[in-house]
Amino acid sequence: MDESETLGTVLKRRGFSRRSLLKFAIAMTSSLALPPSIAPLMAANLARAKRRSVIWLSFQECTGCLETLLRSSSPTIDSLIFDFISLDYQETLMAAAGTAAERTLREAVAANKGEYLLAIDGSIPTKDGGVYSLTGGRSNFDMLMEFATDAKAVLAIGTCAAYGGIPKAHPNPTGAVGVEDLVTNKPIVNIPGCPPVPEVLSGVLVHFVSFGKLPELDDRKRPLAYFGTTIHDQCYRRPFYDQGKFAKSFDDEGARQGWCLFELGCKGPVTHNACASLKWNGGTSFPIESGHGCIGCSEPDFWDKGSFYTSLAGGSSTGWRNAGIAAAVGIAGGAAAALSARRKPGAEPAGPDPEKPDPDKQP
């Protein structure tokens, strides 16, 4: 692809009119919660946009985040932009391997120094020198620190890259951490989710290509447009929550009627993500619609918050053994207190002494 080609040229070649680009921009401003009046400017900027380099490094991950982002078979402007932005380096997708792949990586970095986006999926192990995840003999930690240096910004894709994810779950044997724990001097965008909603990455990239900067982020560095509300606030089953209609077990009458899954452990009220509105697989469904409560996969440490099936109204149990010990200690303490009180003079409740006349009574 010609380095100086603009996105507009590429689209024209593929048979997409400027009008269709404007339509795409209108959809994107809606998705990004930007004012619709900005769409013509976004379209104009997109048309003028030159290729941006995205270098994608996969660390301690399951490849689920990449799978979720792979384009569908029908070419849309969305997928075209993704191709245009282009993954200069992505081990799973690219054809090169071994030393050829490493050379590609170095060339991409050198050619786009200071301008490329570094996309990371997977957590970074830090224990024992990071030996638990190596690429070509180099630890993920070393690679992250090296390639973040010349990046314009770092995108932490998926909960593992953002917050540590499943490798970080107790007892975290590899010392896994998220990108933000290691990179402190670059703009970071967290796109959490296990896996994340694909439209979120598209939205972030389009915003970046159109306006040259990252979209507004919340205090966990997540794009506010997609993570500003909780699943609970967007959930189509919310009226049932408000009416107190809950499914009590999977496949009971309430479950079949599509009632709220709060009592079956849904973490929707405390989870920020866009799945309830954008859904998965091109708007097909999302966990709650399929009958399973939200597991809170876009929040940090969601694997360590107790059972997915214990409701938010419940929590960890002490266990009978500990309760028994507490009771036994209590009885011992109380008995000691009572016994010491019994031994004191006047321990018996006072009553009239039959030998002494009662001064209050008339003789």
Partner: protein, 219 residues
Amino acid sequence: MTLLDFARGIGLQAAVLIMIFGLFWRAAGVLLLRRRPQHASSRASLIGRIAGGATMIFSRSIPRRTFWRRIGVSVALSTVFHVGFLAIIFGGAPHILVIHQLTGLSWPNLPKGLVVIISGLTLTAMIALLIRRIAHPVTRLLSTADDYLTWLFVFLPVLTGILLSGETVAGYDTLLALHILSVELMMVWLPFGKLMHGLLVFASRGAMGFNFARKGAAT
């Protein structure tokens, strides 16, 4: 770890253990105290004495007629508070859910809107009772830190609860964390302050009624 994780995790476990420890301490501490020996024979059978105990638990909740004019308002407010508080706990869907998760028992809940109204009335009654406690010279004189803290530790769960049900003022996770923490605070306080009357009242009224029946006095 977020505040909510603490509240649902270690915080909950610690509060439950402290409460269990405290309750058994009080129970043992009270039951093992010396009792006055009864030399006269009983005027009622064992069943009669037990019935007397049970009766007194309820009869003592209704003040004698002579006092109604003086204390009627505060008794009414106190009744609103106590009934409301119990209705929230045992009628609110999320609370029945907690009990169900612990014991397997459950029963139909009150409609959410009704529980919200009851919560509002309960909070109002509590504030009115606090004002009375401070304004009336006798109660002001008699009140200790125990009284005020007990009031506070009961007020906070009802307040955070109504805010949580309305999902207002703060985010859901913050409200839920504060609500659970306030309940844990109440649980930890329960065995050690005047709040313990919530359980002891049954024991003390019951014991008194048992003895009154023994003596042949009215219960």
